[in-house]
Amino acid sequence: MGRYVVRRLVGTLPVFLFVALFTFCLLRLTPGDPAALLAGDQATTAEVEAMRLKLGLDRPVVEQLVGWAGQLASGDLGRSVFSNMPVTRLIGQRAEATAMLALVAIVMSLVFALPMGVIAAVRAGGAIDRLAMAVAVLGFSAPVFVVGFFLVYVFSLSLGWFPTQGYTPLSAGLWPCLRSLFLPGLTLALLYTSLIARVTRASLLEVLSEDYIRTANAKGVRPRVIVIAHALRNAAVPIVTVVGVGMAALLGGVVVTETVFNIPGLGRLTTDAILRRDYPVVQGLILLFSTIYVFINLLVDLSYGLIDPRVRY
């Protein structure tokens, strides 16, 4: 397995190089200029040009790329064009909120989705199955901002149980932190519950039709044991894949949810940086997201070996 991990890690290097180059070029091709934004609405053309010179944006693109690559090689993601803060510090300020939101959303999703998918599979074709799948379709189809504002209206503005917005950091206590994340977590959980529940149902249905399940039934094994101990484990590979991809997407920043609930996470940092054309921040974030995707995919792949003994690396 060790050799497999090393091989996979080495294989990610071209991915990072491609992502870095692609992001760099894409940003330079996008209309917009950080110098014009930084100079302000009243700046004259000469002042904008002076700002471009100061920021080094007048240099040839290749020269800028080489400079950035040199920084990256020394582990430096650069500084924000606007706040002059190191990109690593900006990411550090936002990472906790996004990580906690992702964790809460995934835990909530799993708590709802696994029982829902299992029951729907076991009672396939019945009223409960239809109801569960109808809820899943609704959860998957409803726009996040509609669900979010609806939850805020009911649980915050009408009942006053949760704050309407904002994130309370873990340093202020676990309960205040979880309380601030309950509604955004639930909003995302509705989406991911739908996805995971549907995959769980489909995967479990396939496994439940296997011969060894029939054999277990014939031997008189209790249905609950068959589903949990035999079927669910064998159905787990697609479920873990979906959970992994979902986790990566959540860690990559969920812009709409973070905006609706004013969570200062990585998603909002990304949109703000894009709107301002804050090149170093966007570049640093995209590299971070690609790293998260690569490593979560690696973890998911490695978990297959633990779930299914037939998978060997």
Partner: protein
């Protein structure tokens, strides 16, 4: 119970009671500002959020009161020589920076010189300055080369770029390089360690600031801070900000979108207050066809009816004003001289006379800004008289880059964009960003007119207000012919305020001294 036991119990209860008493609660004013603080240098940028940050942490030599008068703020006194060439400014006692260092004349000189490199009015002041020097630790002497009548207006400039006073060590930073240290001598201190761009900016009451004895008056007077801490909470979504205001999670919501005003008014715990007046500016690119043709610009001036453009923004007459002038309606220089009444037929006639050949008019519209509805209205009005409008929707980031281009419209250029500068930047001819007609040095659109420039120069040496008003009127009469831009009216931005917040000042700039917060 024995008497002695009772005494012991009472004592213990008293001690426990005292221990359990809450410490004096810190008062935090939570504000959702209209934008994000992108940088902390109010000299390198004219961004209004950075200007507002400047008013929190810096002090100014002169400030504008509610009547629009320029009065001393950091100064104990000032003196002007008979010939108007020598000015002496004496700092008041007790001025200190937040790092504990006293404010001295050398700090003032360094700050004004740096500001004078960037700001338009500052540049004019410096061009007319023979010397600017510290006579002693509290006295600054300014000697002009030529008589120049706008010294007070320049030093008391209320909007970007404001001549804020910084410590000399910071003000020595080159004027094209951002400062990194927000130390100032203003009423608040920025907590740099708590600044999370895009999320939160924190200010605390300055322990070293001594306010003037007078009551606050506009941006002038005593800047007494009545809360311990001000938090700017950056909430990008307006609906989320409204929810937070209604739930009491924030105290002030700057720039409530007009469609949300009825919701704010419907909440008993929240009120509405005017924030600032802006002028809608419809700017032409005069470097390229078709608006390098004055007749066509005159046609648009005749075409634009401010009323529908303003009502597209807000359908509440108390929040907009039809203002047929290049100057703000409450400016001393306001005049209707030469202003044409909206007349579609005349506009069509002028289009015909212009020889318009169907060149596409590229209208850049930043859809997230307050002037987006007005952009749609004027675009349709132009189409209705037969102009070929290429409407291009984008974000402000793209627009602010596109408008720097002088290329033809077919090569990424532009013809028109709309913007909303604040009242202080549109009130008199010299600081007026959109009337400047000095070609390459003018604001985007680059109008070029020698006569306007001569009149603007004459304005700076006019002996009194009456003479200045006469010149301002001449400038308007000339600008009606050259049409550097078309004003689409004047409108107010409003803020939503919790009822337990008191003392907000109507200063034209959102400032948070004098503001108290009850339970």
């Amino acid at each position: 119970m024995k008497p002695r036991q009772g005494w012991r119990l009472a004592t213990a209860a008293a001690i426990v009671g005292l221990w359990a008493l809450p410490a004096a609660a810190e008062t935090t004013l939570k504000v959702r500002p209209f934008g994000d603080l992108k940088t902390i240098d109010p000299i390198t940028t004219s961004d209004y959020m950075v200007r507002n940050h400047g008013y929190m942490v810096y002090d100014v030599l002169f400030a504008q009161n509610a009547k629009g008068e320029i009065v001393p703020e950091m100064l104990a006194s000032y003196d002007r020589s008979q010939d108007g060439l020598t000015w002496t400014f004496v700092l008041r006692d007790g001025l200190k920076f937040s790092d504990g260092a006293p404010v001295t004349a050398t700090d003032v000189v360094a700050s004004l010189k740096r500001w004078g490199e960037r700001d338009g009015l500052g540049q004019q002041l410096m061009a007319n300055t023979g010397s600017l020097e510290a006579v002693d630790p509290k006295t600054v002497k300014l000697t002009l080369k030529n008589p120049w009548g706008l010294v007070l207006e320049a030093l008391g400039k209320p909007s970007s770029n404001v001549p804020f006073i910084m410590p000399e060590r910071i003000a020595k930073t080159p004027a094209n390089e951002n400062i990194k240290d927000p130390v100032g001598s203003g009423p608040f201190v920025m907590k740099l360690d708590e600044w999370a761009p895009g999320s939160k900016v924190v200010y605390v009451k300055s322990p070293t600031y001594t306010p003037r004895g007078e009551a606050p008056d506009g941006l002038a007077g005593g800047k007494t801070v009545k809360v311990d801490r001000v938090e700017w909470q950056i909430i990008p979504d307006a609906q989320t900000a409204l929810n937070a205001l209604q739930a009491g999670e924030i105290d002030i919501f700057e720039e409530v979108p007009p469609d949300m005003i009825p919701l704010v008014k419907g909440n008993a715990d929240v009120g509405i207050a005017k924030l600032a007046a802006l002028q809608g500016v419809m700017r032409f690119n005069q470097a390229q066809p078709p608006f390098n043709n004055a007749k066509l610009r005159q046609a648009i001036l005749a075409l634009v009816d401010q009323d529908p453009a303003l009502r597209a923004y807000v359908d509440d007459p108390s929040l907009y004003t039809n203002c047929p002038s290049f100057y703000m309606c409450d400016s001393p220089y306001f005049t209707k001289a030469g202003w044409p009444k909206p007349d579609v037929e005349k506009a069509k006639q002028l289009v015909k006379e212009s020889g318009y050949d169907g060149t596409p008019i590229v209208l850049l519209d930043a859809t997230e800004t307050a002037l987006h509805p007005a952009s749609l209205v004027v675009a349709q009005a132009m189409r209705d008289i037969g102009l070929k409008v290429d409407y291009q929707a984008m974000d402000w980031g793209t627009l602010s880059s596109r408008r720097t281009s002088k290329n033809p419209v077919g090569q990424g250029g532009w013809s028109i964009f709309l913007s909303g500068p604040a009242a202080p930047d549109m009130s008199e001819p010299v600081g007026h960003m959109a009337l400047r007609s000095n070609c390459e040095k003018a604001w985007f659109g680059w109008p070029c007119d020698e006569e306007i420039e001569k009149l603007r120069a004459a304005f700076t040496t006019a002996p009194d207000l009456a003479a200045r008003k006469a010149i301002a009127e001449k400038i308007q009469l000339r600008a009606v012919e050259t049409v550097p831009y078309v004003p689409v009216g004047q409108f107010f931005l409003v803020r939503g305020v919790r009822k337990n917040v008191d003392g907000l000042l109507a200063a034209g700039v959102p400032v948070y001294w004098n503001v108290s917060k009850g339970q």
